[in-house]
Symmetry: C2
Subunit: 200 residues, 2 copies
DNA sequence: GATCTGCTTTACATGGTGTCAAGCGCGCCT
DNA sequence: AGGCGCGCTTGACACCATGTAAAGCAGATC
């Protein structure tokens, strides 16, 4: 009979402990701290994750899974028009970035030393860039991409505009609300990428 | 009589050595390496800079001085109109960012652990933000700021658009040329911030 | 009851930062 | 010339986090 109490496995406890530590200290935590918070020995961390960066990578996966990006992006793609899709994408970014912010920082730190972390980070960026390309291509296919842009150029620009560090600058540093961030980014993208409808 | 040979003081030699190391290894260098490259003992580094982050901060100052930002920004401010000033500012960013890129990274790394580095970095950001505010305010004063923007909102947006990590994403990661970066950023800023002249 | 598994405990190696103290060469001053 | 101070060297060492190794132990399984 399985225990009915909400007891987490050691592995999960370690991950949750690391997540909590990352949320209030950034990535400046020692494995000793993580172990203590999870009420296991430091060696248990090594048995499960092999190394510090192994833990960080597992942490990224863990948070990703628990935040569930897929259902968000589903909503974006089901927008009626390309313009709506672009706006929905910005809403998604405004909503999703704060949830994965600390993880993005963790990954960013780990990539300095660990090739696996670097690869993982580049894969994340690639996925987001592909998303941007889809949005821009749809705009283009519907004849609404502003003059002067190639699909690739606009997609890469959109990708850079919606990266984590820009969000960090505006929301965390400048104190913009989620709404203000979304509103201004939408204004910017509409003015930049969207050709006005041929209303004449 | 002062020696006429181009012999650098120990302090300057250390800084140059650190700069060279940073340029090809990022910030993953040991003080031992710096000392060796400067042909001094590791302790000499401590005597001059006190600590690792002390060295990094001095390095930032050193590079800043040797690149001479002021004359660049003078050129920007002497533009005939606000729109020209905005475009000149983007040219400045496109030209100047690659020169200080590695330094910005160094500072970014140091700020994680060192409060002084954090303060220095925030001061840099403040200066650039003030510049952005001046450009946008002039645009506004000349009646050319696009509808829907406050001076502050537009200035902070421009500031975020021209930050180092966006440049890094587009130029280093995506391989954009300096010209492509400047051209597309100009197109974006014109479309976003500039109200068309009342023609007709 | 033997064994396997997952974790603990203790000890130790490694590598980089930072500190300390003694010493040394060289220019300067009187 | 002798003495002084300064800038740097030399070598040793403390510290701290990561990572490794080996023995032990307690509960589940057969």
């Amino acid at each position: 009979m399985v225990s009915s109490a909400p007891v987490l496995h050691t592995r999960a406890r370690i991950l949750e402990a690391a997540r909590a530590l990352a949320e209030d200290r950034g990535t400046n935590f020692r494995l000793e701290d993580v172990a203590q918070a999870a009420r296991v020995s430091r060696q248990a961390v090594y048995l499960h994750f092999g190394s510090r960066s192994g833990l960080l990578l597992a942490l990224v996966e863990h948070v990703d899974k628990s935040e569930g990006l897929p259902r968000y992006s589903q909503r974006v793609r089901s927008a009626p028009t390309g313009v709506d899709e672009l706006l929905a994408f910005i809403d998604l970014i405004a909503e999703y970035t704060p949830r994965i912010y600390l993880i993005a920082k963790v990954l960013d730190e780990a990539r300095r030393t660990d090739p696996a972390a670097r690869a993982a980070d580049e894969n994340r960026m690639l996925l987001r860039r592909e998303g941007c390309t889809r949005h821009i291509r749809r705009l283009h296919d519907e004849g609404r991409l502003a003059a002067g842009w190639t699909v690739q150029g606009a997609a890469e620009t959109l990708w850079a505009l919606t990266n984590v560090s820009t969000w960090e600058d505006l929301v965390l540093d400048r104190g913009w609300s989620r709404q203000a961030y979304a509103r201004r980014l939408k204004r910017l993208c509409l003015a930049t990428f969207v050709r006005p409808p041929a209303a004449g």
